[in-house]
């Protein structure tokens, strides 16, 4: 034990005496660990972000819309538009879809007392709020009656409030949407701005009003949104909607649907694919940074042991045993890998924080990225500190002394 302490001291002195070399070795480990933590965390962050956006759309959601095909960069509608008739049939006969809302979407210019903004205006029914589980910060939703009588009421998102009513309470005030005046009834709670779409850059109004004043009736609805009774009945709801609409559209058996039903599950599958690709990509980046970091560590360790072969020879000549040399180099490698690894973890976490501060993109530092980064770098550091030293310690002392 006393011997071990002695050798331990020798190792520490050696690290300290060769500060530059020690720092360079640690730098390789720091960068390796930090890069792995940051890339893996970024991948996790992106996945989390996409998942949040999906679940932010609502629960047990179904979206029914006219079949469209993507041609030459634009969506071309293939069937006849989903319209009031479809909606009434679903509303009247559906068992599995207690909430249904038409959705008429237009891009429009909204002008408020203190600003204006181009935004998306969604004409919806009262059920929309249930379906998408949006809540109000202040004010109230428009009612079923307001929808039936096509009142010029609206509910706005936080982004709209900021642009149109900076620092003011919007409730009860009028805004103009493409020159049509609407009264603001409510303000939605903040949903969080995602990378793809700002869920707060939104104006909701009765679909009847939007159709009457802005959209017209000939194109039907953009889509029908519905929520299934529960998560277990999403498939039932989908089948039911499909049967009802096929009947309504008089589609023969064996012919294709002229509409599309997208459910939350399918959405999640699609985004699952996207995030899967993202994860693979980031995994590849992380692997490359691991390899680069590993090669860096390996190089400096190999170079330093080569440089130190004469030192090993000297130590052997004055009576060090092979095991003394090995213990010393192993301790050095472990200490450098540990300290470098810990600094690398700090560096990675700080890096994630800085990215969050600068871009607002939240990167959770995931535990396994720390494990992978630290584990791999420590392994490379120790292995390439130990094995060349073992080779040198096994050398005949004369050869080690002569080593150039």
């Amino acid at each position: 034990m006393k011997r071990f302490l002695k050798i331990f001291k020798v190792a520490f002195i050696s690290i300290y005496k060769n500060r530059t070399r020690s720092l360079l070795t640690m730098l390789g480990i720091i960068i390796g660990v930090g890069a792995v933590i940051m890339t893996i965390s970024a991948g996790e962050g992106a996945t989390l972000e996409v998942e949040n956006q999906i679940s932010g759309l609502g629960t047990n959601l179904l979206m029914i819309q006219t079949k469209s095909e993507h041609k030459a960069g634009i969506n071309v509608r293939m069937g006849r538009p989903i319209n009031e008739k479809d909606f009434d049939i679903l509303k009247k006969n559906s068992v599995w879809m207690p909430q249904l809302s038409p959705l008429v979407a237009i891009g429009a210019q909204a002008i408020g007392p203190s600003g204006y903004k181009s935004t998306m205006v969604y004409g919806v029914s009262y059920d929309y709020f249930y379906i998408t589980s949006r809540a109000l910060q202040t004010g109230s939703f428009f009612t079923e009656d307001d929808v039936r009588t096509a009142k010029k009421y609206c509910v706005i998102g936080q982004t709209i409030r900021e642009e149109l009513f900076p620092g003011e309470d919007p409730i009860g005030h009028q805004i103009r949407i493409d020159k049509v005046p609407f009264t603001v009834l409510g303000l939605l709670t903040e949903e969080g701005s995602g990378g793809m779409q700002d869920m707060d850059d939104i104006i909701l109004a009765p679909y009847t009003t939007i159709q009457n004043r802005l959209y017209g009736h000939q194109n039907g609805y953009t889509m029908i949104m519905a929520s299934a009774l529960s998560e277990d009945h999403i498939a039932d709801a989908e089948m039911e909607a499909s049967e009802l609409l096929r009947e309504s559209h008089k589609i023969m058996d064996g012919d294709e649907d002229d509409f599309e039903i997208m459910t939350q599950i399918e959405l999640q599958e699609i985004t699952g694919n996207v995030t899967g690709i993202l994860t693979i990509l980031l995994g590849a980046v992380a692997s490359i940074s691991l390899i680069v970091g590993g090669i860096g560590i390996m190089n400096i360790m190999l170079v330093s042991v080569t440089e130190r072969t004469r030192e090993i020879g000297t130590r052997l000549a004055i009576g060090a045993r092979e095991s003394d040399i090995l213990t010393q180099f192993l301790i050095e490698a472990i200490v450098l890998s540990l300290v470098g690894g810990i600094l690398g973890i700090v560096f990675g976490i700080l890096g994630n924080q800085i990215i969050y501060k600068v871009t607002g993109f939240f990167i959770p530092t995931v535990g396994y990225s720390i494990l992978i980064g630290f584990g791999f770098s420590a392994l490379v550091g120790v292995a390439f500190g130990y094995f060349p030293a073992r080779k040198a310690a096994k050398l005949n002392p004369i050869d080690a002394l002569r080593y150039e």
Binding site: K17, N18, I318, G319, A320, R321, E322, P397, I398
Partner: protein, 250 residues
């Protein structure tokens, strides 16, 4: 009472095998060196003098033959025991000093004591300091290796060889990297240490340095071709005066 034998070799052979080729580096070396001797081993390069020194120093093993070092049958020892013998019985001095870089003289001298397994040197710092005083570097103990001249570095190396109070001091071309004056100083230091009772074996190819020793062994092609006492030993004063003489140019 006969003097104690520090080194005794019987029919020592060393053969290097390089594929098909066998090189007889040493052939049937019989040699006895007693306590208190100062031996210079000379010979041209390739004569086997370094190989002999390595075997004497337990850095290398003879292919055949017997070797007793201070009463220990070295040719029967394993790797770790050889390391311990080097640690306890031998002090090494190299041509290129082989000190640890960026390390103080004191720490360098302490080094052999770190690897000591007998526990007989609890006061390693004191011993190191004393060894440095012995080689005349009392005022340089906290200087780092790179802050010392070549001669001073070799003195640190000598102090390192002395610190564990070895039975034998081995020097491999100790003046090979030094200028003439520093070489004479080092040779003189060996004489002083020998006068204090140290047994010294030194390889050199400089005759004027070898002349400081008591006995000279001459090797050629792996065999001892002459082994005699030096009748007229050189001294520091004489060697320095020789240096002053103008070089005769033909």
């Amino acid at each position: 009472m006969p003097a104690k034998k520090v080194i005794e070799t019987k029919k020592l052979n060393r053969i290097f095998k390089n594929g098909e080729i066998e090189v007889h580096a040493l052939t049937d070396i019989d040699m006895i060196i007693e306590e208190g001797e100062f031996v210079a081993i000379m010979g041209a390069s390739g004569s086997g003098k370094s190989t002999l020194l390595h075997i004497i120093g337990c850095l290398d093993r003879a292919t055949s033959g017997e070797y007793d070092l201070d009463g220990v049958q070295v040719n029967k020892l394993g790797k770790n025991q050889l390391a311990d013998v080097r640690n306890q019985k031998i002090g090494f001095i190299f041509q290129s000093y082989n000190l640890l870089a960026r390390t103080t003289a004191l720490e360098n001298v302490e080094l052999p004591l770190i690897y000591d397994r007998t526990g007989q040197f609890p006061n390693s710092k004191e011993l190191a300091q004393k060894a440095l005083e012995q080689v005349g570097l009392a005022d340089r103990i906290y200087h780092k290796t790179n802050e010392l001249s070549g001669g001073q570095q070799q003195r640190v190396a000598i102090a390192r060889a002395l610190v564990n109070n070895p039975a034998l001091i081995l020097a491999d071309e100790p003046t090979g990297n030094l200028d003439s004056k520093a070489s004479i100083d080092i040779a003189d230091l060996f004489v002083q240490l020998n006068n204090e009772g140290k047994t010294i074996v030194m390889i050199t190819h400089e005759p004027e340095i070898a002349q400081f020793a008591k006995r000279m062994i001459y090797l050629r092609d792996g065999q001892i071709i002459s082994d005699k006492m030096i009748e007229k030993r050189s001294t520091k004063a004489f060697a320095l005066k020789e240096l002053e003489k103008p070089v005769e140019t033909p």
